[in-house]
């Protein structure tokens, strides 16, 4: 392809006609589809056709670009939860929130990959204002580390850069100098100048190349408030209990699709804490959103949540990602089985090395497509796991009133307080003697042998009981011999699963 030259059209590169090949044809189809979709989105927005808008957002590429994305998100969100900004900032919204110190710490560590210093300071400023404003308006919400990542996605969507020289009507907006001093203003004051600046409708800053960066802070605030109240309530309790409940659905989704992987990868035994940052931030922490308008994965995750009106999206996407990577994960799992102290560490380490970092854009697009086509139904067991005010159980089709959401929120907070800091299935007790010490003392093998003994005893007992009941004993026997054989092949990687299962069924021991 060295001889070919490229032509830039609409900021896309493609091969010129002289080397017109399949690639170009694909490109033309793609660009044709994009321009059709752009048109469709613009029409749906203009007509206020929310159903069409949601359908397009759920479709491949989501809302395409921030120009369309911002208005589309806002239109859909407002249709779900009509929210009057003016009244909300008046009632309450004055006193500093208890978590503002933490917010400041996290804002300082946001937008680190943005090159232009002015732009960075400006975006941080917009981010901090927005988070603080939401939490002051709804002080019953607790801030969590990661909420800032979610809000940063919104800041990027609602920020516009305009070319130098383009006339902008700034008369109605406050031009906030987002220099270093501007940044510091919000938190070293007692809060009085914040409320002042909070009332302006748009803020802007000049970048190094003379272009203007602006954010409509009213729209940004509205979108973030509605999104928070509709989708993030479970995360904003004063403990992680309901977040942990949500995480518990991931193994269930995986189990429905592939029960072998589910068990082999120990998902029946450990808490899926490894998914915490992905779920709390809808992947925005692990996949840093790109600041340009590129069709980035993170924005499309948000597109899907908003158009499908479901927080099942991140859970389903995460589960599909696990399934898509299962071969690599199992391989790493086996390779590393001796390198970790326990299964929780092992699975976490393997996932961190393999999953997020090692996933290509192509894979992510496949995951997104699979999630788009998914019914997003809750696993059957969900109702037993989730609290009844969870965002996964309360989202209805029609619009919800603010009072309704706030009632759910306060009930959920009450429930959260009553369960205290119950840990899912945490085995937090210190093991009397650490495994490494056992190993060092050569006692580990005794344990293994003992569990093998119990396993064999359990199988024999079960077989014996079955033969007493006159069930098809022979087939069962073969089955268990298969298990024993497979154990041999798998080495000592699986003894717990294979041996404990018959034991569990026999003794009716559930997961505790």
């Amino acid at each position: 392809m060295a001889s070919s030259y490229t032509v830039r059209v609409n900021d896309h590169e493609f091969l010129s006609e002289s080397v017109m090949d399949e690639k170009s044809v694909v490109y033309f189809r793609h660009s044709e589809r994009l321009s059709k979709k752009t048109h469709g989105l613009s029409c749906a927005l203009a007509d206020g056709d929310l159903e069409a808008l949601a359908a397009l957002g759920r479709d491949t590429d989501g809302f395409l670009k921030h120009e369309l994305r911002g208005p589309a998100w806002l239109a859909l969100l407002k249709s779900r939860l009509p929210f009057d900004t003016a009244s909300s900032s008046k009632n309450g919204g004055g006193d500093p929130h208890r978590d503002e110190h933490q917010i400041a710490l996290d804002v300082k560590r946001s937008f680190g990959d943005i090159k232009d210093d002015n732009a960075k300071a400006f975006l941080r400023h917009a981010l901090e204002r927005t988070i603080v404003r939401v939490l002051r308006a709804f002080p019953q919400l607790s801030y969590y580390q990661g909420y800032h990542d979610v809000c940063a996605v919104f800041v990027l969507v609602f920020a516009h850069a305009s070319a130098p020289g383009v006339g902008h009507n700034l008369s109605a907006s406050t031009s906030s100098t987002a220099s270093a001093e501007g940044m510091d203003a919000p938190h070293d004051s007692d809060g009085s100048d914040i409320s002042e600046s909070l009332s302006s409708s748009s803020i802007s800053t000049k970048l190094a190349d003379d272009s203007l960066l602006l954010v409509d802070s009213e729209q940004l605030f509205e979108a973030v408030v509605i999104f928070t109240l509709l989708y993030l309530r479970d995360f904003m309790m004063n403990s992680l209990t309901f977040t942990i409940d949500q995480l518990a659905l991931i193994p269930l989704i995986v189990k429905q699709k592939d029960s072998y992987f589910y068990r082999t990868f120990q998902l029946d035994k450990i808490d899926p804490f490894f998914a915490l940052s992905s779920i709390l931030t809808l992947f925005s922490h692990d996949l840093r959103p790109q600041s340009d308008d590129a069709p980035s994965i993170v924005f499309q995750v948000f597109d899907l949540v908003i158009s499908a009106n479901s927080m099942m999206v991140p859970l389903v996407a995460y589960s599909y990602l696990l399934l898509a990577k299962k071969d690599d994960l199992l391989l790493r799992y086996k390779e590393n089985i001796d390198n970790f102290d326990n299964s929780t560490d092992l699975i976490h380490g393997v996932i961190q090395q393999e999953m997020i970092a090692g996933s290509s854009v192509q894979l992510w697009n496949d995951i997104l497509d699979a999630s788009r086509n998914s019914s997003l139904e809750l696993p059957r067991e969900s109702k037993k796991i989730l609290n009844k005010y969870s965002v996964l159980l309360t989202n209805s089709r029609g619009p919800i009133l603010l009072e309704e959401v706030l009632t759910w929120l306060s009930r959920e907070i009450c429930l959260n307080e009553s369960v205290g800091s119950r840990n899912a299935r945490l085995d937090n007790k210190k093991s009397p003697v650490p495994k490494w010490r056992l190993l060092a003392q050569g006692r580990g093998s005794i344990l293994v042998k003992f569990s093998l003994f119990i396993g064999v005893a359990a199988i024999l007992l079960k077989l014996y009981m079955q033969s007493l009941e006159g069930h098809q004993g022979h087939r069962r026997i073969e089955l268990y011999f298969d298990q024993i054989k497979s154990l041999k092949f798998l080495g000592l990687t699986q003894p717990r699963r294979v041996w404990l299962d018959p034991l569990k069924t026999l003794l009716k021991i559930g997961r505790t």
Binding site: L105, D113, L276, S277, H285, N339
Partner: protein
């Protein structure tokens, strides 16, 4: 078997190291746990640091007394609400680094809280280490003497460091790894004594810690 989790020859990525040590970093949000780790593992201090959510995991192999030791480094989130989750990872930790920020008094006074959380959830044998980070800053609020006094009170070694200008960062991890190795070696000699048998290793400042809290 020499030491901890001696690497078995069947393991696919074996041979590149002789043993593995699990090390954990804890402390308030913003004290610089992740920065210390990044400085140690990647030798950089970049402006694009990000908040830790839950648990992060990094690996670095170092040379201790001619042995290749693979350090398994677990970085935890500082915000209180993550404690239920992070404590699930204390299990099996052989070394735990308690970090505070020398420019932030509050992070220093919270060390006692962290110490008790660690005592609740970690193995009694785990080697602890107190680190005062950001020693490069001139807005210091906690003196070196205060840090030393606290370390003495808790019976653990103490290092002041700066992830930013790379002061004592390697020392933190090497000191800890050595103390752990010594502990393992001496415990092998001690043999099968119960876990409450306090093992006093000759390392500087390394008094056996009590089981209370």
């Amino acid at each position: 078997m020499s030491g901890v989790r001696t690497v078995s020859s069947s393991s696919a990525n074996a041979k590149s190291y002789d043993s593995i040590m699990k090390i954990l970093l804890v402390g308030d949000s913003g004290v610089g746990k992740s920065c210390l780790l990044v400085r140690f593992v990647e030798d950089k201090f970049s402006p694009s640091f990000i908040t830790t959510i839950g648990i992060d995991f990094k690996i670095k192999t170092v040379d201790i007394n001619g042995k290749k030791v693979k350090l398994q480094l677990w970085d935890t989130a500082g915000q209180e609400r993550f404690r239920t989750i992070t404590t699930a990872y204390y299990r099996g930790a052989m070394g735990i680094i308690l970090v505070y920020d020398v420019t932030d008094e509050r992070t220093f006074s919270n060390i006692k809280q962290w110490f008790s959380t660690v005592n609740q959830h970690a193995n009694d044998e785990a080697q602890l280490l107190l680190v005062g980070n950001k020693s490069d800053m001139d807005t210091r609020a906690v003196s070196t003497d205060q840090g030393e006094a606290l370390a003495k009170e808790l019976g653990i070694p103490f290092v002041e460091a700066s992830a930013k200008d790379d002061t004592n960062v390697n020392d933190i991890f090497f000191l800890l790894a050595k103390l752990i190795q010594e502990k393992i070696d001496s415990e092998k000699l001690v043999g099968n004594t119960g876990r409450d048998g306090s093992v006093n290793v000759g390392a500087a400042g390394n008094n056996s810690k009590s089981n209370c809290c």
